[in-house]
Amino acid sequence: MSKKIISRSVLNWMTTTCMMIGGVTVTPPDAHAKIYIEPEKTDNQLEEKVFGAQTATLENGLQIVVIENSRAPVLTHMIWYQVGSADEPRGDGVSGAAHFLEHLMFKGSKALSPGEFSKLIRSIGGNDNAFTSWDYTAYFQSIPSQYLRAVMALEADRMMNLSILDKDIESEREVIIEERRMRTDNDPKALFMEQLRSAMFQNSPYAEPIIGWRDEMPKLERQDVLSYYQTWYSPSNAILVVSGDVKFEDAVKWAKETYGKVPARSVPIHTRSTVPDRTADLRLTMSDDAVRQPMLMKGWVVPSFAEDKRAYIGFEVLTEALSGGAATRLYQTLVVEKKKAVSISLSYDGDARGQGSLWLYAMPTPDTTMEELEKEIEILFREIVGNGVTQDAVEKAKTRLIDQAMFARDSVAGPAMVIGQALAVGATLDDIEYWPRDVEKITREEVQTLFDIYLNPVTPKRLPVTGLLLPKESKEK
């Protein structure tokens, strides 16, 4: 998968339900004799708010969102900056400043010495971490609820008082380079994805890896990080999300007392240059000694949430309908019936301020060549074009997406994650709360049209990029 988020250390809680994130599993297929009667979608499920979140905005522009949930005496506090690696200056010879800053935010401020932030959180029985994406950067703490105000004070402090020693910049730069080695340089699949993405997002800031290019990371200096911090880390460019055991009024009051002290500051407009229409077919092939399992990848540039909300929901339904689990069309055709693939998936990444993308991944069976696999996928896509997206598949996909929203409340950190991410790329709270109602409105025809425009193998709106990851020839023989 395209590495959408990279974080300061291993995240292990992000398996919570994420309906807006598009990262869900399992879905329904074409009709067969069924013995179960499906419960009807009630109006209740469609009209009720998913999270019942409440919101307020401070004078300095900080938006506050609170999801009350008192099942355990804990909460998750997240601050989302609506800025990511795509906002770094381009062409200045360095990359990875957004992510480097995320690391350095733990290296001291007016109130705290280097490393003290995380230690304090641990000492109150909490966990903390942070992550950076192309369009947003988030810091979070899961803590016993009585410490909320104290944690707000700490987070507000580093929003305006970051103070880093030179020696910490030196050592932390080595840490992020080790992070890159672990995530990317040690892994041929990740290296290939990085190059594929870079080719596909020609002229877009999404072409650059969040963590930075290997040769540009060592050149990151204090000024790169600080100028990014001073430009973008403003309360008016941030969203505070608190989910868990807290009353809305208390959260707002404490936020005023803490974050309210951070001076208002305006931020520049985000620019996202777009991918030009490309008429040349783009194919990348990488053969590597370490690779034993060939893999096919295809990527298409498509509209994101920010560009077209209705299309965003349509793409969520489309990918769910065609590839939402083992009973759906792609798996059933390529893996079960034709035995050309051992796995196949189609996923949508539309949570972006700029353009979104669709990604197809497939692994051939041992006796299938990559040419055959590609051919079979093309045959299937040709079948789907025109009238091949079935009503049944669409309706089931919608039901599933709507059901997922009901699972979303069975978590404390999950709702903060879902809401923060959606707001960070330009959604409104209502877009999230009424997601089931909006999903329900999507029609089969809309989904079909999206497929026909973007995934039509003969005349797609934008040619996909195709990647073949292969074992070294000598090993295949």
């Binding site: 250390s9 291993v10 292990n12 919570t16 399992v26 879905t27 329904p28 297929p29 067969h32 069924k34 179960y36 499906e38 099942r71 355990a72 005496p73 995380s118 230690k119 641990r122 000492s123 109150i124 029985g125 909490g126 966990n127 899961s142 050592s171 080595e174 840490v175 080790e178 992070e179 080695r181 672990m182 340089d185 040690n186 892994d187 699949k189 000694d289 370490a290 399992q293 939402g324 689990g325 083992a326 009973a327 759906t328 893996v335 079960v336 796995s343 692994m363 069976t365 089931k396 039901t399 599933r400 059901d403 997922q404 009901m406 699972f407 069975d410 978590s411 404390v412 950190a413 999950g414």
Partner: protein, 455 residues
């Protein structure tokens, strides 16, 4: 499939911190009419239900010789057609009702997990019941899952962390059944037949090795009916072989699998302490201060924060039925491996020879006790914590016991635990990465060219 850095270390780390504040976990002991027992935490605030269960001892250790991967393949095929449903119909029934049903197998146990909205719970339990009692094991599905597993193995063969896990299996467990690859090998998977799967299912899934944990919006009375529906027809007794404990290492060693990658995966392993050991809780606190905390731990402070030599360094305890392990895991650019090993050695000496400070102890206890509710924030997390207690035969009030015991731990206890665990002559260093320079005093590296139990 999910990939964790230092996957097996995290497992240990994640199991350990369940603790304190039993009031948060209000466990009811439920027994159905036909005698099926379960632990239940009722939660009416969500329209959701999570059930987790395990058949103890029915994991990979009880796969037939020469057929590594039977448990894995069984976990993949139980939901590929059962009762009246063929594979596609079964998957459709799950998908159409937004039911998450999955099976998995560890070295020791075979387990299952069901998560459903209340409105689909009748269907969910019926499907689970069918999967356990009448799976079809059709050739097509078995072959498809074999191919998927072989593709997974081939795909993992370019992953240094996965290779490191294979190396540690081989070296730490040698001739014990734990050394096998639970996920199967490229040559063992093709040998597995429908009969192997059925044999395992019919003989190793029984009432006497079953544990069940449930959390969510369901009453004890309703649960009892479902328990009987799903589990009451199981045989009374499982046919399982028991194994010898993994023997203690005879000496220290350093073993490497050479791989041309820029970063070397490093693991240092020692025998651990059993959960029944009187120093277990002292060891838990020791581990937190030493490397378990991640940020703030001594190892992270030294190796990452002060020297920038790694992205992550963790330590953790892993308790299995036939072995207890203590391990430290990290990764660093290959030319710095010796330096990282030296730094870890210095910290090891320090925690064995000097008492931890009062502040370190206080902070560790605060975290270990205070963070318990964080692991109880969803129905599946709660069910999973309960199942981990049951699988270790811990009582329902284990969190209270743990809290009481952790509060009592002193700096002397920690020093003693450190000395019992971190013994030089029982240390195994495992490396996957490029060849490294060693100084003259260092122990000679033993190289393993071809890792067993992959091909």
């Amino acid at each position: 499939m999910k990939k964790h850095i230092l996957g097996f270390l995290l497992l240990g780390v994640m199991i350990a911190p369940a603790s304190g504040q039993a009031s948060v976990l209000d466990i009811q002991s439920v027994t159905s009419e036909k005698g099926i027992a379960a632990w239940l935490v009722e939660d009416k605030t969500v329209p959701v239900l999570s059930l987790q269960f395990a058949f103890l001892g029915a994991g990979a250790i009880n796969d037939p010789d020469g057929k590594q991967g039977v448990s894995q393949l069984l976990s993949n095929t139980l939901d590929e057609g059962a009762g009246d449903f063929d594979a596609k119909e079964f998957q459709e029934a799950l998908n159409d009702n937004s039911i998450s049903l999955s099976f998995s197998s560890s070295r020791d146990n075979f387990s299952g997990s069901l998560k459903t909205l209340n409105k689909y719970q009748d269907t969910a339990f019926e499907l689970l019941s069918m999967a356990l009692s009448s799976p079809r094991f059709e050739d097509e599905a078995i072959e498809r899952m074999k191919q998927a597993n072989m593709a997974r193995i081939r795909s993992n063969m370019s992953d240094p962390e996965w290779l490191a896990a294979r190396l540690s299996n081989t070296v730490l467990f040698e001739n014990h059944a734990y050394a096998r690859n639970s996920g199967g090998t490229l040559s063992s998977l093709p040998k597995i037949t429908a009969q192997d799967l059925e044999e395992k299912r019919s003989k190793q899934f029984a009432k006497d090795n079953l544990i069940v944990a449930v959390s969510g919006n369901i009453t004890a009375e309703d649960l009892k009916i479902y328990l009987d529906q799903v589990f009451a027809n199981l045989p009374e007794t499982a046919e399982l072989k028991t194994l010898e404990q993994v023997p203690q290492p005879e000496g220290s060693q350093i073993v490497q699998h050479k791989l041309p990658v820029p970063q070397t995966v490093v693991e240092i392993a020692y025998p651990g302490l059993s959960r029944m050991d009187e120093d277990y809780f002292a060891a838990e606190v020791m581990n937190y201060i030493f490397g378990g905390a991640g940020f703030g731990s001594r190892l992270t402070e030294t190796v990452r924060e002060q020297n920038g030599l790694t992205y992550g360094i963790y330590s953790g305890m892993q308790d299995m039925k036939y072995a207890d392990l203590y391990s430290i895991g990290t990764s660093t650019r290959s030319e710095k491996v010796a330096e990282v090993l030296n730094l870890i050695e210095k910290e090891t000496m320090k925690i064995k020879s000097t008492k931890v400070t009062a502040k370190e102890l206080q902070d560790a206890k605060s975290y270990l006790l205070g963070s318990v509710p964080l692991s109880l924030t969803s129905t599946d997390k709660i069910a999973s914590v309960m199942l981990s207690f049951q699988s270790r035969n811990l009582p329902e009030d284990y969190l209270d016991i743990r809290e009481h015991e952790i509060k009592k731990v002193t700096p002397d206890d920690i020093k003693r635990a450190a000395n019992r665990i971190l013994q030089n002559d029982k240390k195994t260093i495992l490396l996957v990465g490029a060849a490294i320079e060693q100084d003259n005093q260092s122990e000679a590296i033993r190289y393993i060219e071809t890792l067993p139990d992959i091909e």
